[in-house]
């Protein structure tokens, strides 16, 4: 740089600062009809810098004697991965030639980004590739490693935008490995590209250098997450999102609530994959970090001040959303455990339970190992609080009632919390979804409950929370939700009916059912049938006509409802032959519907295979039963 006198150099530095300012600050105020005004100005300045550097290089090149001859390389585009060792060959980063290449490369880089930003992609690509070419001559080292990574990040984005995801992947993965190797072999705080054009006195502190370098790499991680997502490698994508979050936390580059929500959302991904340990970790971290966003302003404070009011609303909403993520965690954990433990009619399989309990010890060891190798969140001060939240709820499948209950209670706490914000008045859909989850929590817990009486009470709780809402909601606006509720209520009543019968049979093995039990049984049975019928009625046209062809999304539910109605009618207990006959006829009619519908629409059969098979059987057998009843009635008259 000796040939630049200090004034010339200072002018270059000023131009650079100016260009940066135009790009990052001024451009935000550009008018709609001239949106790139500042960026174009910045581009001009960058071009001038480029020319100055180039002129100077030409002059100096003569002095050094043919430095340019080394440039006569084959012109094919350097694609990452072709060069074997970016660390072993080329100019050292702090040699004059190396520095010169880096500076010129940096200007090419900024020009490239400028063109991309102004929607001139081919030109942008050319500049970025020029930067790549210049760097090719250099060894990765502290003065240039940041540029090595930045330019690859930009090329990654560029190629991904063209649907050439693999090319993007190449650039980004190289950036990743450059970072890792640099940190392993060198690790000193690298020069930031802005420092190439900064006066001695305004060089960055080590801390600031590290911060900027790490941020560039965080972006690499984030871009790779997207690339893997676009390539369909969701698991890898999730890992990279996880790493991105982890780095944000470690480097203290995050806003608490936003981070917490992202972590909570990531937990939902892990839940879908059955990875409850990771899910729990994300949620615990979300809870801890969301607290960093501060106290929720009191209602009084909110009334006095609009900003406080908005803040209150924001914090309450986000916390309620995190609570809803927790609910799903508890619910899915219980449901998955149930799937592991149930026999073919959905009852607890005690053999399986014993087997899983024996296997538990091994799992616990694995959990411990997993914890050690997992990507853990947390800085020194948050680490313990995250762990203490994790301890409050298990991440292994609950295997008995006590364990299930502990998961249930955590879920129920979050239900209360979520409902506090998502109230019925104002948030109908959200409120109901939370209630549905609450009901599902009860349903899962009931599976673990051995006492039938108490099990029945749990189902009663479900009915109590859903029934009033189902009847209260506007049928037109909330059609879909109501259908869900009707179906769930029908099934819950059915469940209660079975339990009542089982209880009665258990209590009085030899005696017949007493009047009260029969009344109760019939009530539950009719209630179940009523809600199935209500569901079916909701499919009717305004004139009350049942559709001839069922739409795809209701095909299975509708046929199942018919089937269940058929079954329920034949279970009603009555001594009156007329009533019996009536019930059996209704039953037959519904079985027949299933059979006939599937005959007319053969594709429907596949969705209700077993139901159809049984309906066929019953449609054949019931007439016999009906005839017999008729015969008996005739002989009695």
């Amino acid at each position: 740089m000796a040939s630049f006198n200090s004034n010339e150099w200072r002018a270059i530095c000023d131009k650079f600062t100016n260009a940066q300012n135009l790009t990052e600050i001024e451009s935000r105020n550009d008018p709609e009809n001239d949106p790139f005004r500042s960026k174009y100005k910045a581009r001009e300045l960058l071009r001038e810098i480029y020319c100055s550097l180039k002129n100077f290089e030409a002059g100096e090149g003569e002095e050094e004697g043919g430095g340019e001859s080394g440039d006569q390389r084959p012109t094919e585009q350097p694609v990452d991965g072709q060069r074997e060792d970016l660390f072993g060959q080329g100019f050292s980063g702090d040699s004059p030639a190396g520095l010169r290449a880096a500076k010129l490369g940096a200007v090419e880089y900024y020009l490239g980004v400028n063109h991309v930003d102004t929607e001139e992609l081919p030109a942008g690509q050319e500049h970025l590739m020029n930067c790549m070419k210049l760097l090719e001559r250099c060894r990765v080292s502290s003065p240039n490693v940041s540029l090595f990574i930045h330019v690859r990040n930009q090329l990654g984005i560029l190629w991904a935008g063209r649907d050439e995801t693999e090319t993007a992947q190449g650039f980004l993965e190289t950036a990743e490995s450059i970072y890792q190797r640099y940190m392993k072999e060198d690790g000193s705080p690298p020069t930031d590209m802005t420092e190439y054009f900064a006066a001695e006195e305004s060089l960055l502190t080590h801390q600031e250098r590290i911060k900027r370098f790490e941020l560039a790499y965080t972006h690499t991680m984030y871009y790779l997450a997207q690339v893997y997502k676009n390539l369909g490698q969701t698991e890898r994508a999730a890992t990279y999102c996880h790493t991105t979050l982890q780095r944000q936390l470690q480097l203290n580059q995050f806003t608490p609530m936003e981070w917490a929500l992202n972590a909570a959302t990531l937990s939902q991904y892990y839940i879908t994959k059955g990875r409850y340990m990771e899910g729990r970790h994300c949620l615990s971290a979300a809870t801890v970090i969301s607290d960093l966003a501060g106290e929720v302003p009191s209602e009084a404070a909110a009334q006095e001040n609009e900003a406080e009011s908005e803040r209150r609303e924001h914090l309450r909403q986000k916390r309620a959303e995190i609570a809803r993520c927790w609910i799903k965690y508890c619910l899915n954990l219980l449901q998955d455990a149930k799937k592991q433990l149930e026999d073919n009619i959905g009852e607890l399989d005690t053999d399986r339970q014993e087997e899983l309990k024996r296997a538990r010890r091994r799992e616990e060891e694995e959990e411990e190992k997993g914890r050690k190798s997992a990507l853990l969140f947390g800085s020194e001060d948050t680490f313990d609080s995250i762990a203490s939240i994790e301890e409050k709820v298990m991440c292994l499948f609950p295997l008995d009632f006590t364990e299930a209950r502990s998961v249930f209670l955590v879920g129920q706490n979050h239900v209360t919390q979520a409902k506090d914000y998502f109230q019925m008045d104002g948030y109908v859909t959200d409120h109901i979804e939370i209630l549905q989850d609450h009901s599902a929590l009860f349903r899962s817990l009931a599976f673990f409950e051995e006492d039938l009486e108490r099990r029945c009470k749990m189902h009663k709780r479900r009915v109590d929370m859903l029934e009033p809402i189902c009847n209260d909601l506007n049928a037109q606006y909330y059609l879909m939700i109501r259908r869900q509720l009707m179906f769930e209520l029908a099934e819950t009543y059915n469940e209660m009916m079975d339990l009542k019968l089982a209880l009665a049979n258990r209590q009085a093995d030899t005696q017949s059912l007493d009047n009260h039990t029969i009344k109760k049984f019939n009530h539950l049975c009719s209630a179940s049938a009523k809600y199935f019928q209500m569901f079916l009625d909701s499919l009717c046209s305004p004139e009350g006509k049942f559709p001839e062809r069922l739409e795809e999304e209701v095909l299975r539910p509708a046929l199942v409802a018919r089937f269940r109605v058929a079954r329920l009618h034949s279970r009603l207990i009555s001594t009156s032959p007329t009533v019996q006959l009536d019930n059996l006829n209704k039953s037959l009619e519904n079985y027949k519907y299933v059979v006939q519908y599937c005959e007319a629409n053969p594709e429907a059969g596949a969705t209700v295979e077993t139901e159809l098979e049984l309906s066929k059987e019953m449609a054949g057998l019931l007439p016999l039963k009906i005839n017999r009843l008729k015969a008996r009635m005739a002989s009695n008259n």
Partner: protein, 627 residues
């Protein structure tokens, strides 16, 4: 009834595209739309096309083409359905989606409402409104229906809702309106102004007003539609005045003009799980989108897992909840440019449209408990088959009785104790059949059940041994023949000494006269009658040796009253004052401590051709007490 129809419409090349001598890369054939990837130099092979199928593909590229889709055609295909839904009482929603300048506003509004010189070019919104008022004027002539139409117009910009039809309350008032949901009234915008409209021109005026406000509200010129969504809502109420009680339907028709697709991420605007674009989000601020998309992908793979994804809902999704998850007919029109320069945007639009059916995040119904039911039923089927098999082994002649015995054994246990329990709901339906004849009503009074009948009638009190119930025979105007079972009589009685035509009762304006037939034994209040005899309230009639009937006659004045006020609803007690009812209205009260819940009514006669009689039996008639 939720259904989504998806239409794609391509516009002609615009000036700029012509200047750039753009190639046309869109081709439509029937319902399909094909997009050709622009060829890159030396890369001819990559130019393979992608074909998408929709409910409608509208080729509006060339006016002279025979397949040209005009505004009129689009209205006929899509607008008619919207109007039909509205008049049927459904909600409806039309959403226009596409890149800025792809013809969204043209499709929805037309060239410009203010200067709609060319009437043929009017867009969907004006046509739908016109159609609505045309139909209203048409219908209000013929039917007894009243119509009430209100409109509102709002804009969503940066997640803030602005009322486009309200004068600015104060210059500082830019806080935006909040969107809420009500269990009975659905989603709504708080404090949004609603404007009563009576004619199309009024609507047009409001649209112009709103559009003007939309323009001035934005900083830039002409780009208002780029960044904001606009929702024009028609709230349409129909009231049938002749119905009792008043019957009304309310339908909301949302007409939505979405912001330019290039400015918004469709996944954020309509809550779908898409945008396959390979674009990478640069800023870490968007990390949430990526994670949400991953969670969504995960949930998509495992259908049984239900998860929660925060910050998914935008204001728009929220507002359209009733259209997307309710009883609504939703139509999506995606508009596209035909030019190669817009390839990526157009492709994104087409992809979005092809998945639009999934955007309607219709919550699905999951069934959980069938497993157990099927297991039980399976064993029942096996049991029945087994019985059948055993039965047929015994002999072909008596299969049923054999099944009987076995099954009886199985069922007796539970049936023994059931004795007098019954199923109320099916009984109720039968009861209704009778009650719908509107001459009798049934109500509860204390522990009794009261049967009111506004016609003169007979109540069986006698020793009709074959019947175990109470019978009420009402007497319509004209003649009613009473006798033992054969073919001519209207009331069949059982008992010794009855002739097939035993006597005739004639009801003339509430005055009932008994005409004994020759040789028939008829007693009124204990005295034998052989000549016509007018019956009075409370008369006891004995026919033959056993059958005894009790005559009841609501007074003439009572009758008049009832006919004047129209027949009472079967569900409301006709008279509430019981002392009055004892005198004026007859009633059959069945008081039965034990069987009060077990009243069973059976309709035996409901033949309209006959002068009219119904026989109502109670199953537990042994302890009847006729009042």
């Amino acid at each position: 009834m939720t259904s989504v129809r998806v239409a794609v419409r391509v516009r002609p090349l615009n000036k700029r595209e012509k200047q750039l001598s753009s190639k046309v890369i869109i081709h439509m054939k029937e319902k399909t739309t094909t997009i050709q990837k622009p060829t890159v130099r030396g890369d001819e092979l990559k130019g393979a096309g992608k074909t998408f199928s929709y409910d409608f593909s509208y080729d509006s590229f060339d006016r002279r083409s025979p397949t040209f889709a005009s505004q009129e055609k689009i209205f006929r295909d899509l607008g008619f359905e919207v109007l039909k839904a509205g008049f049927e009482g459904y909600n409806a929603c039309v959403i226009a989606y596409g890149q800025t300048g792809s013809g969204k506003s043209y499709t929805m509004m037309g060239p410009s409402v203010r200067s709609s010189i060319n009437l043929h070019d009017k867009g969907l919104i004006p046509r739908i409104c016109e159609g609505l008022f045309w139909e209203i004027s048409h219908r209000s002539k013929s039917d007894a229906v009243m119509f009430h139409t209100e409109v509102s117009y709002l804009e969503i910009c940066n997640e803030r809702v602005q009322d486009l039809l309200k004068k600015r309350a104060s210059p500082t008032d830019d806080g935006g309106l909040s969107v809420r949901e009500h269990p009975r009234h659905g989603p709504y915008v708080e404090n949004l102004s609603k404007h009563l409209v009576q004619s199309y021109s009024e609507v047009e005026g409001l649209i112009i007003l709103g559009n003007a406000k939309r323009t001035t509200a934005s900083r830039g010129v002409n780009d208002f539609s780029k960044r904001s969504h606009a929702i024009f809502t028609i709230m349409f109420t129909q009231v049938w005045c002749d119905a009792e009680p008043l019957y009304e339907t309310v339908s909301k028709i949302h007409l939505v003009d979405l912001a330019g697709s290039e400015k918004v991420d469709p996944t954020r605007t309509v809550g779908g799980r898409l945008k396959e674009s390979a674009d990478i989000n640069k800023s870490l601020v968007t990390l949430g989108h990526v994670i949400s998309a991953l969670a969504d992908l995960g949930a998509g793979v495992s259908t049984t897992k239900q998860i929660f994804i925060p910050y998914r809902d935008s204001v728009l999704t929220w507002l359209l909840k009733d259209s997307l998850g309710g009883n609504s007919k939703t139509t999506m029109i995606a508009t596209i440019s035909p030019a190669d320069v817009n390839y990526m945007e157009t492709l994104n639009t087409l992809r979005f449209a092809s998945q639009a059916k999934n955007i309607v995040n219709s919550p699905t119904v999951n069934d959980n408990g069938s497993m157990k039911v099927m297991r039980e039923l399976q064993s029942e089927v096996t049991r029945l088959n087994q019985l059948l098999k055993e039965a047929t082994q015994v002999g072909h002649e008596v299969p049923l009785s054999s099944v009987d015995v076995k099954e009886e054994l199985n069922e007796t246990k539970s049936l023994q104790a059931v004795a007098l329990t019954k199923n109320r709901s099916s009984t109720w339906r039968e009861t209704l059949n009778i009650l719908q004849e509107e001459t009798v009503t049934l109500r509860k009074e204390g522990s009794g059940v009261v049967l009111d009948c506004c016609l003169p009638h007979l109540i069986g009190v006698g020793e009709d041994l074959q019947s175990t119930g109470i019978a009420l025979y009402y007497l319509k105007e004209g003649r009613t023949i009473i006798g033992k079972a054969s073919c001519t009589q209207d009331i069949v009685l059982h008992g010794p000494g009855l002739l097939s035509v035993h006597c005739v009762l004639e009801n003339i304006a509430g005055t009932v006269t008994l005409f004994p037939q020759d040789g028939a034994l008829c007693l009124v209040n204990g005295s034998v009658v052989t000549d016509p005899c007018q019956l009075t309230q409370g008369a006891i009639i004995q026919l033959g040796k056993g059958a005894t009937l009790w005559f009841n006659q609501p007074t003439a004045s009572q009758l008049r009253l009832k006919y004047q006020s129209g027949l009472p609803s079967v569900f409301s007690p006709s008279v509430t004052d019981s002392s009055n009812s004892t005198e004026n209205l007859s009633k059959a009260m069945v008081q039965n401590r034990w069987y009060k819940d077990a009243i069973k009514l059976t309709a035996l006669v409901a033949d309209e051709c006959k002068p009219g009689l119904a026989k109502i039996l109670t199953s537990a008639g042994s302890a009847t007490n006729v009042n």
